[in-house]
Structure formats: C-alpha cells, structure tokens
Symmetry: C2
Subunit: 569 residues, 2 copies
C-alpha cells in the first residue's frame, strides 16, 4: 500500500492518500507524467502557484537491489516550458520507498515569504520553518540539516540559486554518506522548488517498515541473479567501475563528438588531461579522501561515482562525471580536472546544473566575456553568480538566455536547454533525441551512443532515437539507473521479474515498453497543450549548416522522418 | 510597374525584379506575409543568414494623400520568434513609392564584419561601407547621413542597440524634417537589421518619377474628398490634432486601463501630470521649438505628432506618444513628462522600442533594481544600456528576458513582447488581441478601444478583436495609418476608390477585407510552422488571477471562444 503525500503550501496542509492499485507499476517518470497531465494546466507559469513539484520514487524503491533507487523529480520546467522529469541517485527514493511513499506532490505557493523544510518520517509529515538556512550553500545546508535531524536522514535540497529562482537551478540529493551531490539537475526544477519556498525535503526512515514485497523469496532470487550478472560483467568493471562515466571522454573524442569551445568542434586537444585514465591516475596517486569508485545509491554494484581529491588529499568534489567534464571542461576549452572539479563543486554548492552552466559559460566565452580555456575566469564567473551580480544572474539563467542577452547566435540548446556532451553532428541519433525529446536537449531522454548505427550518417537515427527514448523511459519509469540495462546485458525481463515479485502481478518486457510509450505520449500531449508543435523539434540552426571540423558532417537527418519518432504502432 | 529590389548581403549583389501584376494591390504587411511564407524557413534563426528583412511600402505610397505612407518592415522576430510586421510613419515609404519600389528585401549576412549603408535612388541601388558610423547614436547618424547624402533623402536606420543585436531594437525612419524618430519599433527588427550589418537605408528620390496612377483625375477627386472629411472632422481636430495620442491618457485612466507600476493597476494617481492637456500646456507655454501638432508623414492632415520642448524651449524629443507615456511613464510610476521625454529621447537615440523598454524597466523596478517612480534611476538604466554594461544589455533585451533573469514572475508580455498601454483586464478585447495576434503583445494588431462592447465584460470581445484584427490588417496592408479609419468616419470605400483609381482595377471594401484575412492566415501559417499553437495564445498568468484594482476584474474571456478568432467564414 503506497501513499502519495500532497503538500498544499498555500494552506500549509499536508494530506496523504492511498495509491490506487492501478499505480502499482506506475512510478517515477510515468507517475509524474500522469499527475501533470491530469492536474496541471499546461500553459501555467512554471514558477507560479499552478505548477506542481513532484518527487516520484520508482516502483522498486526502498529495496536493496542494485541500481533501482533513482528519484524522479518533475514539474513544468521554467527553462524549457515543457514537462520535465529529472532523475538522480542518492537516498531520496530509497527512503521514500522504505516509508511506503510513492510520491510527494508540492502544490501552491506559501502566502508568507518564509522558507520551509518538509520533514517526512513514519510518524509524521510536516512543514518546518527553515530558520537560518536562507541563502546558505548546498553543502553547508546539508551539514546543518543533518545536525538538526540526525546523520541518517536523506535530504533533497536547493542552494541559493534555486531560492532566487535562477533558471539553471537543480535539486541536490544526499548520497549514502550524506554528501548532497546527486543532482536532479536539469530543467530548472530547483527554481520551481524555490518558487514554492522549499529549501529542503528531509526524509527520516528510522522507523520505516520497508517496502511491501508480495513474493519475497522470488524477489531475493531475482535480486541475487542481477547482482551476480553485474559483479561478473567485466566490461562494466573495466570501464564504469574503474573510470566512472569519464571513461566516455576518449570514446566521444575519437568519434568527434566531444563538445569543444561552444560546440565549434568535436575533438579536444586537451582530452587526455580530462579523460577517465587521467581522473583515475590523479585519484589513485593523490589518495587521501579520493575514491576512484563509489556508489551513488544504496546497493549499487556498478559504482561509477567517485571522490576527486586535490593535491592535499582533501575532496575537491564528488563525483566528477562525464557530462560535467564535457560541458565545463572541453566545451569551455578547459583541460584541467582540478579546475573542472572546482567549477563542479561551485555549481553543486550554489545549486546549479553543471551542463547548463557549462553551456552558459561556453556561450559567454564565445561572446568574449572571458576567453576559451580561461579556467580562472570561469571560476570567477561562478563567483559572480555567488555574489549575484547581473552577470552572475545571467550565467545562472543558462546558455539560452545568456546567449540572447549577449547577442550570441551559436547557442547549443534545444527548447532552451543546453545539449549534453555529445555533438549531434557526430552522433546523429542523439541529435534526433535532442530535437524531439519531450524534455529539450537531454541525452538521458534517448541515448544512442551504443546504438548499432553509423553515427555520422543520417540513416537509421530516427529508429535508434525512438528505441532509445523508449528504453530510457522504461528506466525512468521504474526508477532504475539506465546503466543497469548494459550491466545486465540487455535482459530487461530481469527487471520485469523484480517488479512482478514485488507487486505479485507478472510484468513482461512488453508491459514495460507500453508503460514507457504511454508516458512519452502523455508528455507529448502536455507539451502540445503547453504550446509546442513540430516546429519546435529542431536543433539550433548552426548544426545544420556549420560542419563539425572533427567529422566533416552537419546534422542532416530528414525532418519528415523525425516527425515519426513518437509514432508508436 | 513596381519593382522589388533584393539585396543579397552574402554576395553583395543587388537585383531588381518587376512586380507581378498580382502584387498590384499587395503591399505592406500583405506583401511581407507573402514573401515570408514563400521564402523563409519559419524555424530559422531570426538573427541568422536565413531570415530576411523586408521593407514593404503600401499600395498608395508615394502619393500625397493624407495618412497613406506608412512603411511596413518585416521579418522573423528575434523577440517573439513569430512573423513580424512593424510599421511607422516618416518618409521611407513615400520615397520608395515615388521611386516605384514596392519592397526592399535584405537577404543573407555579409561574410566580412563591416557595416553597410544601402543607398537607393532612381539611378542606382548600392551598398556603401558605413565608415565612421559604427556605434553612433541614431540622431547623430541621421545628421551625418544627411551631411553625406543631402538634406532631402529619407533614412531608415538603427542605433548601437540594433548593431549589437539587442532584442528590443527598432528601426528609425526620418520624418519630413529629417528627424529620425518614426519607429518601426516592435519585435526587435532593429536587431535583424544589425545582424545583416545594415546601419542605414538612404532613399534619394530627387529624380523619382513618382508613383504610377492609372486614373489621375479620379484619384485627385477621391484624395480631395478624403482631405475635406478629415479637415472637417472636429472630433479629430479636438483630440488627436490638438493633444496627439496623449489624449488617450485620460480615457484609459478613467477606464482603469492605464498600465501602472508594472501592470499592477490600471489607474495612475499621476495621470494629470502626463495627459494630453498637460502635454499641450507645456508645449504651448514653453514655446521655442515646441509644436503641439506635427505631421509624421508627408501630407498628413491629422497631425497627431508633436515636438516637445524643455523649459529652455529646445526640443527634448519629438514626438511623445501615448504608448510611450503609458509604458515609460505610468507603468514605471513616473509622473513627469520631462523625464518621460528624456527617456524617450534616449531610447530613440540608442535605437530601442519605448514600449519594450518601458516594460523592461517596469519589471526591473518590480525586481527592486530601482524603485517605481524613480525617474533618474530609469534614466540611469538607459545610460547603462549606452555603456553596454550587463544590466544594460539585459534591459535592452526587453521585459521578458529581464524578468526571467531577475526572477520576476509578473512579466506583462505575450510571446515575449511587452503589451502596449492598455490593461487587458480593463479592455478585454485587447486582451484577446494580445493573446491571439500573430505578432505577440501588440495593440496595433487589433485595437478594440473604440469597439461597441462593455470592455470589462468577457462577452463580445472575441468578435471585437476579430473585427479589429481584420480592420487593422487592412490598414497595414494598404500602408494607411489606422487613425484614418476614424478620420474618414469609417467609410473605407474611400480608400478602395483611391486604390481603384491608382491601379485601374476596382477595389471594394470586401476585397480589402479578403486581403486582410488572407494576410492573417498566412501569418498564422508561418507561426504554426515556426512552432506556435493555441497553447501559446495566452496572456501572462497573473492577468487571469490577479484583479486589476482599478476595475475589480480579471481577464476571463473564454479560451475556447478565443480559438475562433481567426476562423473566417
């Protein structure tokens, strides 16, 4: 019996409702799309009282299976104007699952001007004034909240950027060690949380009864099978576990897909200074607090996260991930992991999406605010954000607004959101995803990097993106990390078996696919009503006309074919 | 035999083509919509090489009939992303008509980084480097261009804001006296001109043969009839001619429709300090260069323009108009015509739309950058624009970006464009126009102020807006000032008779209406392809929920009914 807890901020009222049985298999992104389509006027102001902020756990949340505890956070995005689901690791979903909570739905906006914490435990759910936390950085805030509520709580929180409703604001989730660096970063949902005056959600699962599992024995069996497969998957061990997602730098650089100097090319001469090997070497040489491998969620066996230490062995940031390296590194012409780490820490602390800020700094560099490669200049730009100068406000608003205000035409964003670290002229399936996804420029909406296509050719990319959009949506709906698909070698029925043993109702791969497609179509419908049509499903113009020098290609996937990407039989 | 002159900036090539006979009655906004729909990819980057900038004269241009020489300038708007036509008085269309030029179409973008002037005369059309004019203000630039090309030329030009592609940039046209203050202000077309590196269009009609008139005698007869009606229209004489458009201040203030302090109410306690009477009194008391009445176009008999002098009798600005008073005055809480005049001059000189900048300053005031009513602060904000500081760049980007970056939710704009000086909760037909017009928040797209409806009630507003959108489009297509409709007491057949005698083919009111409807539908089609649908046809959320204290009303016109506004039988 799962519950949905609604927090009416207008009335300061908390209400709990029991989930209808039909929601047994509908969690995460699927549940967000359902609540949004049914309850939110799609044309509403994303930062106004008619938007909602939804924390939705996946259907397997609260169990200790590897990779199943991602938290989906959603609402109408102030950055893109579309529906938005942004998921992250950490302990938020795990603890929600243990408390039997499928979703937290924040509604309205407080009439007073105070900042609040939502405290959730087995015994109560209540709004508490966030005295003394106004304007405090994410790291200090998390520390202070653990001091107040105990070391074991899970926390989802925003930084000063979110409080000020800056459009590139994300929501940080604490990991197993209480470090608030697992970001639901994309789409400006931190600003939505800020608009609702919620500084933090504190989840205390001390007396939690744990999730209800219909068939425990079967569940344990499937869990053990999955664990065995992951542990014995050498490819995962030698790539993601050892080097983290940074292992992608060499791959994308060799493909001509590593965004470099505001997406002006896909090959970075400094790639070796920022790749997985370099990261691994620095961490293992420097020792101290460093860890080349680290779990972002309870029970994760892939452990692609890391703790990156400075020369003194003290943590600079945890983790450094590929997308951050691509956007704050090569895209800004910065070939130094120490600098990228500092930028990453600053973004995390202020409460900003590293992808969006990497895009914004790249655009500011193109405008001549600072030069490409100027790491100290980039750090200073984030200090401007901290000081909340006008330049800082601009950078914190993301790449699109930065580019428009500074008069830059080359803005690498779709529907207002900065593209992830894959040049769409080099990996054209991702170009289709960026253009057509219901989320704006987002690689996790349909990652085609491993699709069996010639990435530089236009043929087959729509099909690749369609399949990836379905497959990624499956993970987002279940709450699984999308690396688990590779880790279990594509045998998605294992996830179906987990769900089946949990709910007591069989779940086939086909059922999961239908759930994913229905979710995509609901999202599409929301966006249509919000004012989007096929004319919005375009990449920035320069990708169509300006060759990526590393590949000699432009983006040339047929537009008519792209219109078919969400046509499911 | 009219010509269309195309200027390919990429190749620096000028080509002239003879208009097909079907274009005999298609000028101004109608011609812009046709060229744009046929030739421009609607999803193109408005500031990229695939957009075009079109100067289109009306079908009566070049004649000396009153009110028929408005110049329509069009292209895809970088502010709204929609199709855009912005028209103004001045001498541009008059001189184009005398030269037999129906349109100038700027295509592409120069490969070099130089700034250009287009010089057009009977003998030649050529691109000339704009040496020494880079960054120069509009007034000095116009003076310098007249020094170079002679006192008699007509000039359309941009200021430093347009050169830098600031999104609130307009295009100034010189009047009979060579003063560059007749602005095609809206939609950021100055930025499009800047993107094409055109500082100015200089039109030299010294040896022009004049427009071709098929039946001169009949033409003169109709012209004289129109002149007689206008001259003897006492209502016009006692309002527009005496007080200019500022005569509207009392009317809208009494209706609760005068935007005040960022559209937080529709009634301004300082209205008497900024109304038509006050303007008239100041001009007549101060004398010097002041003129309470002045013609914006050759031959105009309404003469609603003015020259506003300071205490020393020297011109502060010419003209001050109602929209500027509403946006830079009451909307900013500024109750002083001298200050409004200075702000107006600064906007004109930098090359900015006063409506958009009034919106942006109002939003900045709401954000606390300066206080409402702080006139010196507002002047300083425009000095920031001149200095091109980050705050200045922001203000020059218009109200929507200013609000988004500063974290303000109350942004009085639709499709990214600031509403004109009529609160849509008090004049609901204009609310329908703002929401549904193909141009974003624009009163000239469908002015319902004089419609026979109860402006505070939702009933009848869709019909009123529909009729106004058709009627305003007629004027925009013919190139007539939309005040002429009132001046000739609604007898539009007189304009049809002018067109008929000019072309030699009869033109009924019904024909003009069909032309207007076809234009609206073409514009709508362009916008649909550019990514717009009914979800975009909304006012800012606060108008639906926040009462205008002056009227006690919210905007509550039925959304389903609004969808019918462009359904023509």
């Amino acid at each position: 019996m799962y519950r949905i807890i609604r927090i009416d901020l207008n009335e300061k009222r908390v209400q709990s409702e029991v989930c209808k049985p039909e929601l047994d298999v509908i969690g995460g992104r699927a549940l967000i799309s359902k609540i949004m389509l049914e309850e939110i006027e799609p044309t509403c102001d994303p930062l106004g009282p008619r938007n909602k902020l939804i924390f939705a756990a996946g259907v397997l949340a609260g169990t200790t299976v590897s990779c199943v505890n991602r938290i989906s956070i959603g609402g109408k995005s102030p950055l893109t104007g579309t529906i938005k689901e942004s998921n992250a690791g950490g302990t938020t979903a795990y603890k929600m699952g243990r408390l039997g909570i499928r979703a937290l739905v924040f509604e309205g906006i407080p009439r007073d001007d105070k900042l609040y914490i939502l405290y959730v435990s087995e015994e109560k759910t209540e709004l508490i004034e966030a005295d003394g936390l106004e304007g405090m950085g994410v790291y200090d805030s998390a520390k202070e909240l653990r001091r107040r509520f105990g070391d074991k709580v899970g926390i989802a929180l925003i930084g000063p950027a979110g409080e000020k409703m800056r459009l590139a604001s994300g929501i940080a989730n604490t990991d197993n060690e209480g470090i608030p660096s697992r970001y639901s970063a994309r789409g400006g949902l931190g600003a939505v949380m800020g608009s609702k005056k919620i500084k933090a959600v504190v989840i205390d699962d001390r007396n939690a009864k744990g999730p209800f599992i219909a068939n425990e024995e079967q569940f344990r069996k499937v869990r053990d099978t999955i664990s065995d497969i992951i542990i014995n998957n050498e490819q995962i061990a030698n790539s993601y576990t050892k080097f983290g997602t940074a292992n992608l730098v060499n791959l994308t650089n060799s493909m001509g897909a590593l965004p470099t100097r505001n997406f002006s090319t896909g090959s970075f001469e400094g790639a070796e200074e920022i790749n997985g090997q370099k990261l691994y070497d620095l961490i293992t040489e420097r020792k101290g607090e460093g860890k080349p491998s680290h779990a972002c969620m309870p029970g994760c066996l892939i452990r692609c996260s890391n703790v990156f230490p400075g020369e003194d062995g003290k943590t600079i940031v945890s983790p450094i991930e590929y997308e951050t390296i691509g956007l704050l590194g090569s895209n800004c012409g910065i070939a130094c992991l120490d600098t990228i780490g500092r930028l990453n820490y600053l973004c995390n602390d202020i409460g900003l999406d590293t992808i969006e800020i990497g895009g914004a700094i790249g655009v500011a560099m193109e405008a001549g605010v600072i030069s490409f490669g100027d790491g100290e200049g980039a750090v200073n730009l984030l200090e401007e954000v901290k000081k909340d100068t006008y330049l800082g406000k601009l950078i914190a608003s993301g790449a699109t607004l930065t580019g428009k205000v500074l008069g830059v035409n080359r803005i690498p964003a779709t529907k207002g959101q900065t593209l992830a670290a894959y040049d769409p002229r080099a990996i054209k399936g991702l170009g289709v995803t960026y253009a057509t996804s219901t989320m704006g420029g987002d690689h996790t909406a349909g990652q085609t990097l491993r699709a069996p296509v010639d990435h530089r050719k236009p043929e087959g990319q729509v099909e690749a993106s369609k399949n990836a959009q379905i497959s990624n949506a499956i993970h987002d709906c279940i709450g699984t990390c999308f690396f688990v698909g590779g880790a279990i070698k594509g045998d998605l029925q294992l996830l179906g078996d987990l769900i089946g043993s949990m709910t007591g109702k069989p779940c086939r791969v086909e059922d999961m696919k239908e759930l994913a497609k229905a979710t995509l179509l609901r999202e599409k419908q929301f966006n249509t009503r919000a004012g989007f049509n096929e004319g919005d499903d375009m990449l920035p113009e320069f990708f169509y006309y300006e060759e990526n020098p590393a590949t000699g290609t432009v983006f040339d996937v047929d537009r008519e074919e792209m219109k078919l990407v969400h046509k499911f039989e």
